[in-house]
């Protein structure tokens, strides 16, 4: 069977105990499948594409280390994206902090959306409304509706209880509706 037809779980299995060639090919397939997602997650927190590229590399090198070179390794208990999301997010926030330290810059805004200049004008209003939400509310809305994660997957990605996810999503939606209503 072609690797790109296999599920994440099957590819992770191949990375865990496949031959040298199969494991490397399976890992590359996972990388290509989730490359854009990890990049987008990074760009949700920083519009810096350089940071996004660094985060992409670091996130997958982190994932690679989860697979022992001699076999066994990662046990996937949820979607792979639930694992990749916090890694990409934390790598991005760390990169922003490092850059801020290096440049002593104060004009960055963590948890920001993509630069409005890069957004289709049709969706500019929506992007602007979303940008008015708190970072936590925005994050949970993006995870739920853009990443199509279930509540338990969001819980895993954010490392918070499912009840907190429900509550946060509830408040986020209320805030978004309020913005939509007043727009």
């Amino acid at each position: 069977m072609r690797l790109d037809k296999q599920s994440d779980l099957e590819l992770v299995e191949l990375c865990n105990d496949g031959s040298r060639r199969d494991a490397a090919a399976a890992f590359e397939t996972l990388y290509r499948r989730h490359r854009d997602y990890v990049t987008r997650v990074s760009l949700r927190f920083s519009s810096d594409r350089e940071i996004a590229a660094d985060v992409l590399q670091e996130t997958f090198l982190y994932l690679l280390k989860k697979f022992s070179p001699t076999g066994e390794g990662l046990i996937l208990s949820a979607k792979l994206r639930s694992l990749l999301y916090p890694v990409a997010k934390n790598q991005t926030l760390s990169a922003i902090k490092r850059r801020r330290r290096d440049e002593s810059s104060t004009d960055f805004e963590p948890d920001r959306l993509p630069d409005p200049d890069t957004v289709n004008p049709q969706h500019e209003n929506l992007a602007r409304m979303l940008s008015h939400l708190s970072p936590r509310h925005r994050e949970v809305i993006l995870l739920r509706f853009v990443d199509d994660m279930r509540l338990n997957e969001i819980s895993e990605a954010l490392d918070i209880p499912t009840g907190t996810v429900k509550s946060r999503l509830h408040h986020a939606l209320r805030a978004l509706r309020h913005r939509l209503g007043s727009a």
Partner: protein
């Protein structure tokens, strides 16, 4: 208000809009692609070229079952052969051999019970059991 229910209440149009915003940015990463590919190749280099997978449980069970069936079949066939050998001991010598075929032929000529086909079959059986090709 039920927070669980709320998760499905965002209009589809809005969801599509959110997705389009998020996916509107494409970042080309050829250098990262190459580094990740090289890192993966180096990481898995300690693995053997081909992994000899242990036989699966169902394969072991299947092989055992097939062996058992073959054994039983063999024993049964042997029993059948022995039974038919004794049944064909026409001269009462305790063994079936070519003399039994002659005995059957003699019985046929005197009583007319056995057909020529039965005699031929007995000759064939004796010859085969003695290890010669028919």
């Amino acid at each position: 208000m039920n927070a669980e229910t709320d998760t499905t209440e965002l209009p589809q149009e809005l969801v599509e809009g959110l997705k389009r915003i998020d996916t509107s940015i494409a970042v080309m990463t050829p250098a990262v692609d190459r580094r990740v590919r090289e890192a993966a190749a180096a990481h898995f280099a300690e693995r053997p070229q081909r992994v000899a997978r242990p036989p699966r449980r169902w394969a072991i069970t299947g092989t055992l079952a097939a062996s058992l069936m073959a054994g039983l079949l063999l024993v049964r066939m042997q029993g059948d052969v022995e039974q038919s050998l004794l049944a064909n001991d026409f001269d009462g010598s305790g063994a079936v051999d070519i003399l039994d075929a002659f005995a059957l032929a003699r019985m046929n000529s005197s009583l007319g019970d056995a057909t020529q086909n039965e005699i031929d079959a007995l000759i064939m059986q004796v010859v085969t059991l003695n290890g010669a090709a028919p």
